[in-house]
Symmetry: C2
Subunit: 465 residues, 2 copies
C-alpha cells in the first residue's frame, strides 16, 4: 500500500477544503459566535459524508453539538474512534495578527519552506482533525481501509469539553471502540517524529477581589483603603515562593515523582535552550528550581495567570481606587493530581489568604485530569510503526505540557486507551496570534495515519490469537 500517489493528485483540493473550514470563526468561548460554531458543526458533517462515512449525525448536547460519524466495514474487525474538535480559541489580541484570523492565507516560513496556512484553528485542531477526514478518503479511494472507523468531533474542547462527559455517559454503545486516535498535539520537529505519552491536567478558575462598593478617588482615599488591584497582586504573588514552588497547601501531595532513569531518558530528547529562548524572544527562562525547562513544562504542575484586569485601562490617566479587580488563573496538573481536589485546595487557600479588608470570590471554570499512556500496548506500537513507514525513523515518546482532559474520560467511560499522534510544531503558535499549520505537516499526517490503521489492525488480530 502507498498513500502518496492519491495525496499528490488531490493535495490542492485537500488544502482548499481545509481553508474553507478555517474561514468559520467557531470560537466556543465567546457567546457572540454561537451561530458560527453551529455552522461549523454542519460543515464538518458535510465533509465526513463526502469522505465516505455511512452514517453522520449532529448530536445535540447540553452545549454545542458533537458530530458523530462511522464507517463500519465488518463487525469482526477492530474499531478505531477518532476524536477531534471543530471549535477554536478566541483570536485576540487580533491586532497582533499579520492577517485576519479567519481569512486563511498561505505563507512560507523558515520552518515551512513549502508554505503554512495561517488562521485561527489551522493547527489546533481543525487542521489536525481534518487530516483524519482526508485519511479516510484516501483509504476508501485506495480500497485499503482495514478496519471500522468512528468519528467524534466536538465543539467545546477550548472551553473544557463541558458536555463531553454527559455525551460519553449516554452513548457508550454507539462509541464502543478498540482504541481512540487523536491528533491534537505536536511533534518535536519535522525531523524528529514523536508520540505524546503524557498530558497535563488542568484546573481553571476566575477570581474576584472586591474592596469599596464603588470606585474611589485615589487622592481622597489612597492609603486608607485596601486597593483591590494591590491586594490581588499580593495574593497572586504569594502563590509562588522564591524557588517558584506553588505555595498552596497540599498542592504537590499527589504529584508523581519520576525516577532518575526516567528523567535521564527525557533529557535525551533533542533540545537547544538557546534556540528555545531565541524563538520566543525571552532573555532568560524562568521556572521551578531543580527542574529543567523540558521537565518544567511537562512533568511538573504550574500556576499561570491567563488574564488580569481592574481599574482604569483606557488612554491617559485616571486616579482611581477601583471597586473590584479580577484574574483568570489556570493550573496545569500532572498525573495523579485530581483537578477537582486541586480546585478545592486553590479556593480554600485563596479565600484564606485574603486580608479582612476585601471580599474574595473564586469561581471554578473547568478542568481535567492528567494522563500517561503506556508505551507497551499495541496502540502505541501501531503508531510507532506508522511513523517509521513515512518518516523512516522511530518516533520519540514525549510528555506534553498541554491538556486534553478528555483522554482520561475516555478511559473512564469507554475503557479505551488513547493514542496521540500529533503533527503540529511548537512554532505553530497555537492559542497565539498568527497560528499556522505547515502544509508539509498536514499532508504528512494524511499520509501517515492510514499506516496506523494498517498496523493496528494487524497487531490487533495477532493479539487476539
Amino acid at each position: 500500500m502507498d498513500t502518496r500517489p492519491y495525496i499528490e493528485k488531490h493535495k490542492q483540493r485537500f488544502i482548499d477544503e481545509l481553508i474553507e473550514l478555517l474561514k468559520l470563526p467557531s470560537v466556543s468561548a465567546d457567546p457572540h459566535f454561537k451561530k458560527e460554531v453551529l455552522m461549523t458543526a454542519g460543515a464538518v458533517k458535510i465533509n465526513l459524508e463526502a469522505a465516505g462515512c455511512d452514517t453522520v449525525e449532529i448530536c445535540d448536547t447540553p452545549g454545542f453539538p458533537i458530530v458523530y460519524a462511522e464507517k463500519i466495514i465488518d463487525e469482526s474487525l477492530p474499531t478505531v474512534l477518532v476524536y477531534g474538535h471543530y471549535d477554536v480559541q478566541p483570536p485576540d489580541p487580533v491586532d497582533l495578527w499579520n492577517s485576519p484570523p479567519f481569512e486563511p492565507v498561505i505563507q512560507t516560513t523558515d520552518i515551512h519552506p513549502d508554505g503554512a496556512i495561517f488562521a485561527r484553528g489551522a493547527c489546533d485542531d481543525k487542521g489536525q482533525m481534518y487530516m483524519h477526514v482526508k485519511a479516510l478518503e484516501v483509504m476508501i479511494q485506495n480500497d485499503s481501509l482495514p478496519c471500522n472507523i468512528k468519528f467524534m468531533i466536538e465543539g467545546e474542547e477550548e472551553v473544557g469539553s463541558v458536555s463531553l462527559e454527559w455525551f460519553l455517559e449516554n452513548n457508550k454503545e454507539k462509541l464502543a471502540n478498540d482504541v481512540i486516535l487523536i491528533s491534537d498535539t505536536g511533534m518535536i520537529s519535522k525531523e524528529v517524529p514523536s508520540i505524546t505519552t503524557g498530558l497535563r491536567g488542568m484546573s481553571y478558575v476566575e477570581v474576584e477581589v472586591e474592596g469599596p462598593n464603588r470606585d474611589l478617588h485615589s487622592g481622597l482615599y489612597g492609603g486608607a483603603v485596601a486597593n483591590p488591584i494591590n491586594i490581588l497582586s499580593q495574593m497572586i504573588a504569594s502563590l509562588h515562593d522564591e524557588n517558584n514552588h506553588i505555595t498552596i497547601p497540599g498542592f504537590y501531595d499527589k504529584v508523581e515523582e519520576l525516577s532518575d532513569e526516567e528523567r535521564e531518558k527525557m533529557a535525551e530528547a533533542p533540545f537547544d535552550l538557546e534556540d528555545y529562548k531565541k524563538h520566543i524572544g525571552i532573555p532568560e527562562v524562568h521556572g521551578e528550581k531543580g527542574f529543567t525547562t523540558n521537565e518544567r513544562n511537562s512533568i511538573r504542575p504550574t500556576l499561570d495567570v491567563n488574564g488580569i484586569w481592574g481599574g482604569y485601562t483606557g488612554e491617559g490617566a485616571k486616579t482611581v481606587i477601583p471597586s473590584k479587580a479580577f484574574a483568570k488563573i489556570s493550573m496545569r496538573l500532572v498525573p495523579n493530581q485530581d483537578w477537582r481536589e486541586i480546585t478545592d485546595l486553590f479556593k480554600t487557600h485563596f479565600e484564606n489568604i485574603a486580608p479582612k479588608s476585601v471580599k474574595v470570590k473564586v469561581k471554578p471554570h473547568h478542568g481535567g485530569q492528567g494522563y500517561v499512556t503506556p508505551i507497551d500496548g499495541i496502540e502505541y506500537q501501531a503508531a510507532d510503526l506508522a511513523f517509521q513507514e513515512t518518516f523512516g525513523k522511530k518516533p520519540v515518546p514525549q510528555r506534553s505540557g498541554g491538556s486534553i482532559p478528555i483522554v482520561s474520560l475516555f478511559e473512564k467511560y469507554l475503557s479505551s486507551k488513547t493514542v496521540l499522534m500529533g503533527f503540529g510544531l511548537n512554532s505553530d503558535a497555537i492559542h497565539s496570534p498568527n497560528e499556522h499549520f505547515g502544509i508539509w505537516n498536514y499532508l504528512k499526517g494524511i499520509e501517515t495515519i492510514p499506516y496506523f490503521y494498517k498496523h493496528f489492525t494487524k497487531l490487533y488480530k495477532e493479539h487476539k490469537q
Copy 2:
C-alpha cells in the same frame, strides 16, 4: 451686604445654567472627546461674559485652551485670581452609573434632601468653578464687588495640567494677583465647614512588563517561561512591606514628620470610623502601620495601582501566557517630596527589581508637588471669616489627600498664596460613577464666596497701612 435675596430669586437659573455646562463631555484624558473639550471652553467664555467680566479670552496653549477673564474695577484695589477647570474625569465604568454621566438629573439623597445634581463634573470641578462665576454676578448685580477679579479656567487638570506651567511662565503680567482662590476640594460636612490647608503631590507612571515576543500556550510553555502577569503582580506586591510601608529606597527621605501636637490637633476633626467603613462598604480599613485613617489619607504618601491589564479578559477561558502586562500606578506625595525625584526613584527601583526573564518599561505620566498653606496669612483669615458669616461657625483647617499640583506652580511663577475654599463632600463620588453635587452646597458656595472678597479686601487694606 446680604447675598441671599438675589440668590433666592435666581437660584433656578443658576441650577439650569450649571446643568447645561454638565451636558458637555469634556473628558480631557480621552482624545475622542477633543471637540467636546473645546466646545466647553467656549461655553465657559460665554458664561463669564454674561456674568459681567470686561475681557474674556480663550488662550491657546500647547494642549487644551485656558479661559482667561477679568473684571478690573480699580488698579489700587487688590486682585483675586480665581482658578478652576472645565475638564472632567473619564466617566467609566459607565455601566455603574444610575443615569447617563452627561445627562444631568436632580435626585434627593439622605445627605442632600434638597436634591443633588448627578453628572460627571457636577462637583469636580464644573459645579465648584461655576459657583465663582455666579458669585461674581451676585456682587455685580448687588453692586458689592470690592476688588478686582481674574479668572483662569483650564481644561487639563484631570491629566496633570500639562500646559499650565507653560501658560504661567508666559503670562506672569496678565495673571498678576494678590491671592489665588480655588474651589476644587471638599469640606468635612455640611455642619462642619473646613478650609483645606494641605494637599498631596503626585507622581503618575505607567509600567509595562514584557516576557515572550508573542502570546504563548500556557500548557506547552507554562512553568518554563516567565509569565508577565505573575511577574508584574510580584513586582507590585513587593512595593509594600508587611506594615504597608512603601519599599522604594529613599521614598520617605523627605517626608515631613508631624509633631505629636499637630497630630493631636488633626485627631480633633470629627470622624466616625464605622460611618466611614459603612459609607464605602468596606469590612475593614487598610493602610500604613502606626497611622490613623485620617493621617493615612492626608499626611502620608501612598502608592496605588489605578489600573492593570494583561492576557485574556474576555468571556470564558483562554489558556495563554501573554506577551505583555501593564499597570497604571500613582503615588500621592506629601510636602517636601519632589515628584520628579520620586518618579526617578520609582523608575530606578522598578527596573532594578525586574527579574532577568522579562523586560520592563516605566513611562512617567505626570505629577505635581504637595503643598501646605499657612493659616496665619490674611487669605486664610478672610476665608475663615467668610465661612463664619454664612455657616455661623469657625471652619476647621484640614489636610486633603487629593492633589492640586498647580498650587505650588502658582507660588513658583506668580509668588501668590492660594486659598482652598471647598464646598464638596466626600460622599459626592468625584472620580466615581454617580458623581453629584448638592444643590444646597452649590448655592451655599455662591452665598459664601462674596464674603471672602469683602474680608480679603478689608484685611488687605489694613495690612497695607
